[in-house]
Amino acid sequence: MSDTSGRNRTNLLLASALVLFSGLLFRGALDIPPPFFDPLGSAAVPKLVAGVLLVLALVLGASAVFDVRAEEPAGPMPAAIEADEKAAPASPVTAAAAVLITAAYVGSMHARLLDFAAASTLFVLALGMLLARGRMRALLVLVPLALLLGYGFEWLFTRVLFIDLPQRSILLEGLSGG
């Protein structure tokens, strides 16, 4: 796939997402009651922004369809650096896994399955090992780091700085006898 077609496809996807987003914004703005003391009211700016985004999405979409180069020419970048940038290997799977691990971390605390200390310890180990690509030697650093961040931070924030951190559900504490 050439650079140009890849760029056009990305722009088309972005334009489509923007059309949907501006539609959602406009739909939401229609539910806002009319103004009662000022000429514009609370719906005016959302409608204006939705309209501008729609126009911009259409311009972007049209430029992608008709293959008009929307980007400005790149700056005075020496060829060697430009080549390096392009040759940098991308890991979409690692990025997706990082997001999933993060979501699991936040979700486990939101559902109160784990408290901050346990969740953070597991999170640091999981994300660290993912980014270290399974290098077992990384555990030598990651294990103490995870314990320090999980249990050390919980102690520091809740006992010293008196800042609350997510706790495990009382119900679950009872079930596990904790």
Binding site: G28, E71, V124
Partner: protein, 497 residues
């Protein structure tokens, strides 16, 4: 001058001085590590400052800002990877010079230029801020509304890449600031039945998402990118006074460019460095040497990006309009510390403003001393493994977002905006205008509605206000200028030579 002298004496007291030292050192380190940015550091530090004195908190953040812009030159020179986007132009000549066996000279040129650029901008900051602030006091709702509009158009038009995408980013930022309780009339809007959205998206989680989480995902995406560092020799990191004299005009010109671009609302340090570099190349007797390890390139880039920091503080202090995306975070810090930004800041919090400016000047001097003394150590530390760094950063991020109001919803907002930021970045939509739009959305709407209430002629009332009309005309010109330029380029190509 008496105010500045008093403020300088204040920041040299142990605690303020300690915070400047800490902020500058952390800023340099974070700026030097590729994948970590000043915006990230300042956003992460913001929640930690909730319990601090507001002057000390802002002093710390400004010092971080100065340090982070300067630190980028280390990795730009030794790794061929700009530690911060503002050092991209330094890479072009810093790395080749280091490859030619002169890494110490490249670093010394960068560090020295950063100091001079920062101090020149500091002089502008001190001299221009009080009169500009008095001028801004004559502004009414129309002026503020058109100025915000100009800021968004300006940052979109100067953003690297497509102007359309810059505008998309700015208006998306505004769109995400709209849900929740509207402060003008207390009307709940765009919540779609989700009660968690009643309070809208809070500033800090959005900033953490856009600046920190998206960078974490980006770093995970580019985890295969392994930098290789050039070694520093045993030579001293310094340049002779004679060589500096040869660069005097370049430094002065680039610093003024950096300061001026910094003053323009919304435009960041990377644009300053690019404009200064290109200008230096255009006026140079040896333009062909640029990109091959030429000292003039390093000097232009580094003096301009540091000058931008001082310049960008001017609209923030005097008008409450961020001069760059990082200034948008600083503006948020002011709001979170219950300090009302805007032209009245000099009257209501005069000592605070002078302390901020003094801290900026001291941070530049400290940056020079710290970098000159410890560049060898920092050069080794920049290769720190991301597998250890990124999890730590997200845990800090999580604590910051959660501590804001003890809600996991805010942590989800961080994750959500991180994903949005990552995809926008992949689609080459700049994140700077997004943040500026989000931060300025409140002013944009409140001033637009106030002006409509005040004016009997509706929107046409704008033409009764000369400053507002000027801002509007400038916005329209900036909006159409790229199209005019492109049309002129095309007609030039088509016309027979």
């Amino acid at each position: 001058m008496g105010d500045l002298a008093g403020a300088l004496l204040f920041v040299l007291h142990p605690w303020p001085f300690f915070y400047i030292l800490l902020g500058t050192s952390l800023g340099i380190f974070v700026g030097a590590v590729p994948g970590l940015t000043g915006g990230m550091l300042i956003t992460l530090t913001l929640p930690l400052t909730f319990y601090m004195d507001s002057t000390l908190a802002l002093i710390l953040l400004v010092a971080m800002y100065v340090g982070s812009v300067s630190g980028g030159l280390i990795s730009a020179t030794l790794l061929r990877m700009p530690g911060t986007p503002s050092s991209i132009m330094t890479t072009f000549d810093g790395y080749p010079m280091a490859q030619q066996g002169q890494p110490e000279r490249a670093l010394a040129l960068g560090i020295g230029s950063s100091l001079v650029g920062g101090l020149i901008a500091g002089a502008f900051l001190v001299l221009l801020s009080p009169p500009l602030s008095r001028w801004a006091m004559t502004f009414g709702p129309f002026e503020y509304f058109t100025m915000v509009l100009m800021a968004i158009v300006l940052i979109a038009s100067i953003s690297q890449g497509s102007m359309v995408k810059g505008l998309i980013a700015g208006f998306l930022g505004i769109a995400f600031a709209l849900p929740g309780l509207n402060e003008s009339d207390g009307q709940l809007r765009l919540t779609f039945g989700f009660h968690a959205l009643d309070g809208g998206f809070q500033l800090l989680p959005v900033l953490l998402g856009v600046f920190v989480m998206s960078q974490i995902i980006k770093d995970a995406y580019e985890i295969g990118k392994q930098p290789v560092s050039l070694e520093l020799g045993t030579g001293r990191v310094r340049v002779s006074l004679r060589e500096w004299r040869g660069h005097a005009v370049n430094i002065l010109r680039s610093s003024v460019i950096g300061t001026w671009i910094g003053i323009l609302p919304g435009v960041g340090a990377s644009i300053s460095a690019i404009v200064a570099y290109v200008t230096a190349k255009n006026v140079s007797d040896t333009p062909e040497k640029f990109g091959t390890g030429h000292a003039e390139g390093i000097v232009a880039s580094e003096s301009a990006n540091n000058a931008n920091v001082g310049g960008a503080l001017i609209p923030m202090i005097t008008m409450g309009i961020p001069g760059s995306p990082i200034d948008a975070i600083l503006l948020s810090a002011l709001i979170l510390h219950n300090i009302q930004p805007g032209p009245l800041l000099f009257i209501t919090n005069g000592d605070f403003v002078w302390a901020l400016m003094a801290a900026y000047l001291v941070a530049n001097v400290l940056m020079f001393l710290i970098m000159t003394a410890s560049v060898r150590w920092i050069a080794r530390a920049v290769l720190i493994d991301k597998a250890y760094m990124l999890p730590v950063i997200f845990v800090c991020c999580m604590i910051g977002a959660y501590a804001l109001s003890n809600r996991m919803y805010d942590v989800w907002v961080v994750v959500g905006f991180g994903v949005i930021g990552f995809f926008l970045d992949r689609a080459r939509v700049p994140l700077g205008p997004f943040v500026i739009g989000f931060v300025l959305a409140g002013i944009f709407e409140v001033e637009l509605r106030s002006s409509m209430q005040m004016s009997e002629a509706g929107f046409l009332g704008i033409f009764d206000r000369p400053i507002a009309t000027t801002f509007l005309v400038l916005s329209i010109l900036m909006l159409f200028w790229p199209f005019v330029q492109s049309w002129r380029r095309r007609t030039k190509k088509e016309s027979p030579s």
